[in-house]
């Protein structure tokens, strides 16, 4: 436990436990933007995204370059909404699902913003928001940019088969969202603050099915949600919503089981970005959406506006990631999960 005097000095207070930080001077989500592909634009949240590209190559020659372009557009839109320029942003925290994070590196390169490349699988938007808010709260700069993306075409190629192979997908499989979300976190007042974070630890239940990511990630989500409630001394009802990233239908049902085992009932106010972004019946997306861009684009387009309007007062945003690669999968390693918790409040 950190001595309170020390924490006060740095403009923050610590909660009990090792995983959480409660900011005394909470940073604001100054602005955000979402950029998505055609299918996402046709889904239930279609009208809420800032930019829907009807052509999934985004004018580029490859899926990877398309993903880079999405990140760039999302960052430009977020900065534009806040009337800020790239020179105003002190650090950029970004990541994606591709090997060696090339969608991010090649996407944000031209901004020339000092950057930290991240990898947390589909939890990366939470990781980026955690580090951005820690940096702003510590006084390291007025504005930080957090950005993540995923692309159905590049992700299928990276993790499964090239699209032209037209492989069959089991019903537990999720559909990688083509999308990016960018967030400017800073000191400038807005109507949403990041008041706390719960940094995830890796949780491994020994599952090995890479076509059932929801099941692999649910234990990490349960761990982070339980820890957050304990660290902040809250009940599930204290949150207007507890929002996981992309557990999907299979993962949600496992999460509920796990939480029941902990005697915590989150059924009433739990929603999942992966279950919201597509219409399961009409869009043939099986267990729901997934990917670094899923939680990020839903946070920007759907969650933040509700917080801004005060329709929701306080939410716990918990993007979840499955930590695996084709190599670890082929070598028979299990697929552990990680989930980071971000407390967002209307103000």
């Amino acid at each position: 436990m950190i001595p309170a005097s020390l924490c006060k000095k740095a403009g923050m207070i610590m909660t009990q436990g090792l995983q959480s930080i409660a900011f005394e001077q909470s940073p604001y989500v100054v602005s955000s933007a979402s950029v998505v592909g055609k299918k996402e634009g046709e889904g239930p949240l279609g009208k809420m995204f800032d930019m829907v590209e009807t052509e999934n190559l985004f004018g580029e020659d490859s899926w990877e370059a398309a993903e880079s372009t999405m990140q760039k557009e999302a960052c430009l839109l977020a900065m534009g909404k806040a009337h800020l320029h790239k020179e105003d942003v002190r650090f950029l925290f970004g990541g994606d699902l591709l090997r060696q994070g090339i969608a991010t590196s090649l996407g944000v390169m031209e901004f020339g913003i000092p950057m930290f490349g991240l990898f947390g699988a589909c939890s990366t938007s939470g990781e980026a928001l955690a580090l951005a808010s820690m940096s702003v709260a510590a006084g390291y700069g007025d504005y930080m940019l957090a950005v993540t993306s995923s692309h159905f075409g590049s992700a299928e190629k990276e993790f499964r088969f090239p699209l032209s192979y037209a492989n069959q997908r089991p019903l537990s499989a999720q559909w990688t969202v083509t999308g990016s979300g960018a967030f400017l976190v800073g000191r400038k007042r807005s109507h949403v603050r990041i008041t706390g974070i719960t940094v995830g630890k890796i949780v491994d239940f020994g599952l090995k099915d890479s076509q059932n990511m929801g099941a692999c990630m649910a234990p990490a989500a349960a761990d982070t949600i339980e820890t957050n409630l304990k660290d902040f001394g809250r009940e599930p009802d204290d949150y207007s919503r507890i929002i996981t990233g992309d557990l999907g239908y299979v993962g949600q049902s496992i999460l509920f089981d796990l939480m029941r085992g902990k005697e915590i009932d989150i059924k009433k106010n739990h929603i999942d970005c992966g279950m919201m972004i597509f219409d399961q019946n009409k869009q043939d997306t099986h267990a729901g959406g997934s990917g670094c861009g899923c939680a990020a684009s839903v946070l920007s387009s759907y969650i933040l506006p509700k917080l801004e309007r005060g329709e929701w007062k306080k939410v716990l945003f918990v993007p979840t990631g499955a930590l695996m690669s084709t190599v670890s999968f082929n070598e028979g390693a299990s697929v552990p999960g990680i989930a980071h918790g971000i407390v967002l409040e209307h103000c």
Copy 2:
């Protein structure tokens, strides 16, 4: 520019420029550890590493699992040297070169330390040390763990060919170091402090040769060194050494050319971890060592002891990364670089 009042409050001062932070209450490198493979143990620094494994699988079944084991061992040794337990570490910042960072995820998983997964190619040790020191200086915790690794076997498989293919390597190619370095950064007094950082931005000179990483990374190193000197108002001579990560022989010569163009002479006090870890003549390593584990293991085994003894007073440690994947390379994308600067001082 950040108002000084704000920065003072958070226990830090800011320097001019957007990339650097000078810590007022500088965190200490409390302890560190290095774990390397057989070839590294036979090199010029062989006797300085904490652990040299004579069998490169480290008792595991795959190169990837071997790399995970190295990270775990390095973390355990670093914590052991400081007489600390995993529960004492608030956050872990770690990364490696493999797709989706599995060496790190599967390596540090069992510690259960809340973690941030990073990707900065071979610059990741700098990225991890930057975030760890930012977190300690801000008061987010007493101890942070920064760890990175690379493994010749897993890296060849990831980026080039499986070892059994026995491919020919051009003379500009570097030899990926089998090694890991772990660093405990914290408030507990030691004889080395991290007094400042310069966060790198991505620099692209349009080079596309993935077998000449030194050339791809040299522009980023030049940019970060120049920025660091400017931001901190220093001359090259103010540093006992300016130490790049793994530019190797080719990269060093390009770095000198670039610095001459900036009218900065670093020839007298520049050294490169990739040039030190192997004996170029006897070990057939062509342009030198490379990899996330190169700079990290040399920092722990060679650089930190010199700082501890006061033999060196102040060094600028600049690990460099080449941002590419086999996919981006095959698609004809350039290989941009990034380099993070860490100022280490004897105290």
